[in-house]
Symmetry: C2
């Protein structure tokens, strides 16, 4: 207990669970935030001391006003600063002198507002870097502790205390979350922090600190980009081991990114890397804002399905079942294969009109007797291939649809299902088209953590989230730890910072040098040779004994093939001529290029073209990418990402995310490769790349998969050295 308490008393924890609050810029004017915050704390019954601060003194809402920050008692947990941007620095300095643990800065007018605001923000940043006080914001809607009533946002609505921690970049996303919690009767919030411009406290630290709160069972994030994505990966990879983390991204599209920039001054990177790395660290992604509360709520209360088991759909009427199955299949969720025994037992319960496949359609058997549902769930639970039951249709609303006299029976059926499933930690998700009526049977289900939704699609989103989380946790020993992500942060940060204007700009290394560098680090890149004269070119081709590709090697030349710098299928007889031709042409077309020679490599037979690359991402540090290769890679965009270091399991999952992975098993006579072998290559390339100093970008494109295996056709390496 002591340890936990100690942990909870770090400044960020004190800020989230404050035992005293100073309201700086408190006001007697009910139209001002400085009044509303005091009012809100009182209305919510916040039980600890509140100190309004205003140079005018007097009293606000019955509380004596402190005339300046320096007159506050020492070591206040939290100061909320309701003063304009220009005053914030002075107020913070005073707070620090008085030992205030953390401050929430509401003002806007910083980076999001233009150059002058950006200057103010930099000033503030330098001050905070000196230590002594932690800051949330600026440009934030505030913080709320729903347990003790510390509501700095000043909500005017009744809210339920619940198990979900929420961190959002935009204040309005809190309003959406609360609306969805109320609308869908999902589990409520425990604590909320609006990060705003993230000048100090950011997602990663807050995520870790929030997970230390015993009252938090799941964490919902809304982000438009991460200032230090690698730290977030490290934090999330650890937090996700104990807590579900759900992320809604804003700024996924080009237009959305521009909007995010003007709104909190944060630039979110391309969305594809985010999708890959978040899956890697076990973060649940939601694509729709209207699913954040529902999915986070479901994950906070649902037990996990048996690893590897499938989903059973229990329905009344085929229409809903068909739609549920469509969405499950689209989400890649496997339906359970029911055993003969299970089918027999269901048939016995449901009679001849029912369909006892999966989905199970109870048809008209249930109309007469809702309690049959409880028995079906029990039968399904006993099938080892059923990990979760999704009930779709009318459950809980039969008494509304057919006969109100059935209500007690339906209450009892739902209570029985809930208690029974709770005792066995068996996950159930319920869709009912009477959910919006809030019938009492649903309350029994929810009381035991069973999500009930009125939308089939929301129900499937819950199922998907819990099944995917189960799969992630089920193989946790084979996944990269947070510390491994963290370890790379320092040197990577340095290399990223070197990309600034005054640093030497990173350059593409000539291919022979790149291949030699990789080979020096123990990585084979296939047969190749450098020819520095026409004669050498002939000799090299002769030595390989097969037709070769010849590629110009020249500094200051980017798209070789566009200027005739690549010739394919050259035999020994013509090699010298091709060399002379090619070098003359390049000298002509690009006089500035410094020609080193020609790279000679045996022709590679046609096959499936793959892409494999490592890049130093400004958000997430070193990433590895795999997908469809060739010159159309950017147009086709069939590429998946993961953060380095990567494990074989993670590489396999990355491969299977691509469409091209469907061709790897061999297709209509095309060559095949096992996902395992490819995963090993990916892991090797990843670890080699990490050993190469100053590496910014490494691309093998294409890697050709043909009858004789994998062949690297082209190596491109960019470094800052």
């Amino acid at each position: 207990m002591d340890t936990l308490c100690d942990k909870l008393r770090d400044p960020v924890s004190r800020l989230m669970e404050p035992c005293s609050i100073a309201v700086i810029g408190a006001s007697a004017n009910p139209g001002k935030r400085g009044y509303q915050i005091v009012q809100s704390l009182q209305r919510n019954g916040y039980p600890h001391p509140i100190f309004p601060v205003n140079p005018r003194g007097g009293a606000i809402l019955g509380l004596a006003v402190v005339t300046d920050v320096l007159s506050l008692p020492d070591n206040v947990d939290l100061a909320v600063i309701a003063r304009p941007a220009a005053d914030v620095l002075d107020v913070l300095a005073a707070c620090r002198r008085k030992g205030v643990a953390g401050a929430v800065v509401l003002a806007n007018g910083f980076k999001e507002s233009g150059p002058e605001g950006a200057r103010l923000q930099e000033e503030l940043k330098r001050f905070i870097a000196q230590g002594g006080i932690r800051v949330v914001g600026p440009n934030t809607s505030g913080m709320i502790n729903f347990g003790c009533g510390a509501d700095l946002v000043g909500l005017r609505q009744a809210t339920r205390h619940g198990p979900v921690g929420a961190i959002t970049q935009s204040g309005n996303m809190l309003l959406s979350l609360l609306a969805d919690i109320e609308k869908h009767a999902t589990p409520g919030l425990d604590v909320y922090v609006g990060l705003g411009n993230q000048i100090d406290v950011g997602f990663s630290e807050l995520l870790t600190t929030m997970a230390l709160r015993p009252s938090v069972k799941a964490i919902a994030l809304h982000a438009e980009g991460f200032h230090d994505g690698r730290a977030l990966l490290a934090a999330a990879a650890e937090v996700a081991r104990t807590h579900p983390v759900v992320l809604l991204r804003g700024g996924r599209s080009d237009a959305g990114r521009r909007t995010a920039l003007s709104h909190t001054g944060s630039v979110s990177g391309s969305d594809r890397p985010t999708v890959g790395v978040m899956r890697q660290v076990g973060v649940t992604l939601v694509e729709r804002s209207d699913e954040l509360a529902i999915v986070a709520g479901a994950l906070s209360s649902l037990p996990l399905p048996r690893t590897g088991a499938g989903v059973a759909v229990l329905s009344d009427g085929g229409g809903h079942a068909t739609l549920a199955v469509d969405h499950l299949e689209a989400a890649g969720i496997r339906l359970a294969r029911l055993s003969e025994q299970t089918r027999g037992a269901l048939r016995e319960q449901l009679g001849d009109t029912a369909v006892v496949g999966n989905p199970i359609d109870v048809a008209s058997a249930i109309d007469a007797s809702p309690p049959l549902f409880a028995r079906c769930v029990q039968i399904l639970h006993d099938d080892p291939d059923v990990g979760l039951v999704l009930i779709v249709g009318l459950l809980g609303g039969y008494h509304l649809r057919f006969d109100s006299a059935e209500k007690p029976a339906e209450d009892e059926a739902c209570r029985a299902i809930a208690e029974w499933a709770h005792a066995r930690r068996f996950p159930i998700v319920v869709h009912s088209c009477y959910e919006h009526r809030r019938p009492s049977p649903h309350a029994h289900l929810r009381d035991r953590g069973i999500p009930v939704t009125g939308s089939i699609e929301h129900a499937v989103a819950c199922v998907r989230a819990v099944v995917e989380r189960g799969a992630w946790l089920g193989s946790i020993a084979e996944r990269t730890r947070g510390a491994d992500f963290q370890r790379l942060q320092g040197p990577v940060r340095m290399r990223i910072d070197e990309r600034s204007a005054d640093a030497p700009s990173p350059g593409s290394m000539p291919e022979p040098a790149a291949r030699r560098l990789l080979e020096a680090h123990g990585m084979e890149t296939g047969p190749w040779s450098l020819a520095r004269s026409a004669d050498e070119a002939r000799e090299r081709v002769q030595a390989f004994g097969v037709a070769c590709a010849l590629k110009i090697v020249a500094d200051g030349l980017s798209h070789k093939s566009d200027v005739g710098g690549v010739r394919l299928s050259v035999d020994a007889d013509s090699a010298a001529g091709v060399y002379g031709d090619m070098t003359a042409r390049i000298r002509d077309a690009c006089p500035q290029a410094r020609i080193e020679g020609v790279l000679v490599a045996p022709m590679i037979a046609r096959g499936t073209e793959l892409f494999l690359g490592v890049t130093l991402d400004a958000d997430y540090g070193p990433l590895i990418a795999f997908g469809a290769g060739g010159i159309t890679v950017e147009a086709v965009k069939d590429v998946a990402f993961r953060a380095l270091p990567i494990t074989p399991l993670e590489a396999r999952e990355m491969i299977l995310e691509t469409r091209i992975s469907k061709l790897l098993a061999g297709y209509r006579g095309m060559p095949s490769i096992s996902v395992e072998a490819l995963a090993r290559l990916i892991v090797d390339v990843g670890s080699t790349a990490l050993r190469v100093e100053n590496l910014v970008d490494l691309e093998f494109n294409p890697i050709i998969l043909n009858e004789s295996g994998l062949h690297i056709a082209d190596v491109r390496l960019i470094s800052t050295s």
Copy 2:
């Protein structure tokens, strides 16, 4: 008026707007459907005669019971048959004798239940084919006319009469629709028909008939497949010119198709063709069941945006705006480019803290004054590039969020927006995270047809639907008419039916015959020649003067390349040898193959591989398909479909649906082709294919796009002749 009335009195219209109802199988037992229907009609104040029919006689709910069908008055509009499957045929026969216009058959136990039921269904079908009575069902939940209270489903909930017609395959989808209408306060239903097994009245006829009702402004469909897809295309292409039609498909996945089969005995085909042909005929597709009511409601009330104009997003707070823009971009909806004048006018209204790009973020300007929204909308309307305004954030909830004293101002602001937009027929969609509280300002918006939703994603779905419908109607003159789809129905049906077991099975035509057939119909397939001997092979290659591809021509051989039946880059010197080699090998490997010779065609330089094909679809008749080609076409699945006949505009839209279309403009030195030229080819191939008798399947795969244009590398033609 007379004409309309006459039309309305066709049997299916009488069934939907009955002036008399017979309840066959009426019962005095409140637990029976035969009681509940009578009760439901009375409860809803159905104003016309109700005739309960039951051999026991007496009275039910105060109405004298008719003892048998033959004692009914003549020409009753609608009989609802609440009798078991086995009795239905006799009852229908009696109904027909009495001139009953239409019957709704509730019983299940037909095709969906197994062989015995399928037999009953066939018997019923034969009876109906004789004419004299129209039938909805069997296995249906019934029909409801919300205007006159003719509710055969027996709902126990209050419902609002509204402008949406609904046709569903599954009865439970009605419950979902009604739940969503209530939950989201969207426009209600005018008439509902549950089709069930569609033994007689199907989607196409009902769609056309429903559109004749003056009270119907939009039609919502839920379907798990169409028994006669071509008739539906013909109907939808015409109805969509006057009425929005929204379709939710069930059975899109493999598992979902199996489920649909066991549920209404209908088999839905692959989903890709459905997506293509529905877009072609102007049907709005929704992917989520929870969007059917919302989108149909929005389309029923929203005016259309100016053709070609973009969308403006008006937000309070960047978080919601960023998410809205993300989803709009993902849906392919263009954001409006605001003019300098517009920006200036907005800046004047909103002050310095606002962001006056698109999205427009009113920032804190509005908190103080919701009526500013009305002025912003007016400014945006005056910008010629703004076709629609999407408002996201808190509109209508400011008085709940900040100060209840603001309510009158907010009511007034929303009323002003609604009246103003209504007068100008300017489309506005509103997202508000206070929607679930049903604040009165939202009622003003809804009263004038402005959809208000609590979900950003639902709001974007409404925007997308109305923008896409505007684009479709905006170019209506360039689209295929229903009659043109209809014209092909007869012969196509015949050819599809020929595929039955006892008809000659369709066969693949040898490629030379296929090419000759196409050439005879005026379509060039490129240079080729048939060699019947080794000497001829050498001569042919010599005549072409370039290296050629040689392909075996043999009956009874499917995958030529798998058995060594294809050789590339053969020159004249080696042609004879290759011929001998190839024919010997095939004779060896496939003794049953009848070798005709070898097809010789000049080698085609590498390029982008495309697919173009025509197929006789069992659901929709002749379809044309275009996309990424090569041997991986089935694995990559980047193919779009349209029904034939196709117009150039429709072909262009089909091309742009594929991912590979991004490469057509030329990419990193690859050859390019205009979408127009490709569309012309597609239209030509489509009309040629329609002229070829007995055609079942035509495939050009690949068509290679290289520097010298498009080249057909392989022709495959399957016919029933």
